[in-house]
């Protein structure tokens, strides 16, 4: 396994691997390769866990997290809970190249992105709306709430903290279809 260059990525996202490889072959940097590779998955919504229209939160909204790291300079750019901007990895690179920060989050990160020229658009799709409405119909199961009432294992919120804190076994929700 010593034959450079190398592109390796999680999950069988083949088109992302190819996009990164092509970026290297056409003279791009390794940063270009990572941006193109991850960016391909954002466009293709790889297995629903990357990009717009997937993994809606409790209010039905899709939010994006991304980071990019330069192994030569240890420069990093990252965004979290990014709203209304599809190209999260592109915004992460803009954080690295146009600020001295590392991580920008939430609504303000989206404002930064728009200032940097990224287009604001709705990240919901019929698919994410359908996932959300099915979840509401199923009494909001599964969810990530605990020690609140009403009983989160049986009903939707809004929730209030319960006076007693129980140390239950941690619910296991992440799986091959819902992960970071």
């Amino acid at each position: 396994h010593t034959s450079l260059p190398l592109v390796i990525n999680t999950w069988p996202f083949k088109n992302a691997t190819a996009a990164a490889w092509r970026a290297l072959q056409s003279g791009g940097s390794v940063l270009d390769a990572v941006e193109k590779g991850c960016g391909r998955c954002q466009i293709e919504q790889c297995d629903g866990s990357v990009g717009y229209g997937g993994s809606p939160d409790e209010s039905g909204e899709t939010t994006l997290d991304a980071m990019i790291m330069n192994g030569d300079t240890m420069e990093v750019g990252a965004v979290a809970d990014l709203r209304r901007i599809k190209n999260a990895i592109g915004v992460a690179r803009a954080v690295m190249e146009h600020t001295d920060h590392t991580l920008l989050v939430g609504e303000s990160a989206s404002v930064f992105a728009e200032n940097m020229g990224f287009i604001a658009e709705d990240l919901t799709t019929n698919n994410s709306v359908n996932i959300f409405s099915q979840w509401l119909k199923g009494n909001c199961q599964p969810n990530y709430r605990k020690n609140v009432f009403p009983d989160p294992s049986k009903s939707c919120g809004p929730y209030k903290p319960s006076a007693t804190l129980k140390q239950n076994m941690r619910a296991q929700h992440a799986n091959t279809h819902s992960h970071d």
Binding site: V7, T17, A66, M67
Partner: protein
């Protein structure tokens, strides 16, 4: 979630991630993907790694950083990946997660935590040994 590490002919290395996170998360929740050292880490003098899975748990252990530091200390990428996973498994035996690792000479490896329904982790590799991306898998 996609996590990626790229290494060119001259040894320049970069890593990155992109994700829309866990489904039905509490609004405002951020996973491990954008956290340096958790979702991914890159150091051209040691290697790169990227993790995927239950970010709420994995971010607490900085698995990508750990894997790179183990490779800096001489561990091969597979061993580095396995150690990063086992560190988390020690505390959360049923956690869902996997990691990919690559060192500065283009060696690579992966590891995952075996839980019901997840006994093999698939990842993609492209290097100069082939003229197309290759699907790889590792048993958890």
């Amino acid at each position: 979630t996609i996590g990626m590490v790229a290494l060119d002919q001259d040894g320049h290395l970069a890593a990155g991630t992109s994700t829309n996170g866990l489904t039905h998360k509490v609004p405002g929740r951020v996973g491990d993907s954008p956290i340096v050292g958790a979702g991914a880490y890159a150091d051209s003098s040691a290697g790169g790694a990227a993790a995927t899975g239950d970010g709420d748990l994995m971010m607490r252990f900085l698995p990508s950083y750990l894997a790179v530091e183990l490779m800096r200390a001489g561990a091969d990428p597979s061993a580095a990946c396995k150690t990063a996973i086992s560190r988390i498994k020690r505390h959360y035996s049923e956690f869902f997660g996997a990691i990919i690792c690559a060192n500065t000479t283009g060696h690579y490896g992966a590891a995952c935590n075996k839980v019901p329904g997840f006994s093999q982790f698939h990842f993609m590799v492209w290097n100069s040994e082939s003229d197309a991306p290759r699907l790889k898998s590792v048993d958890c």
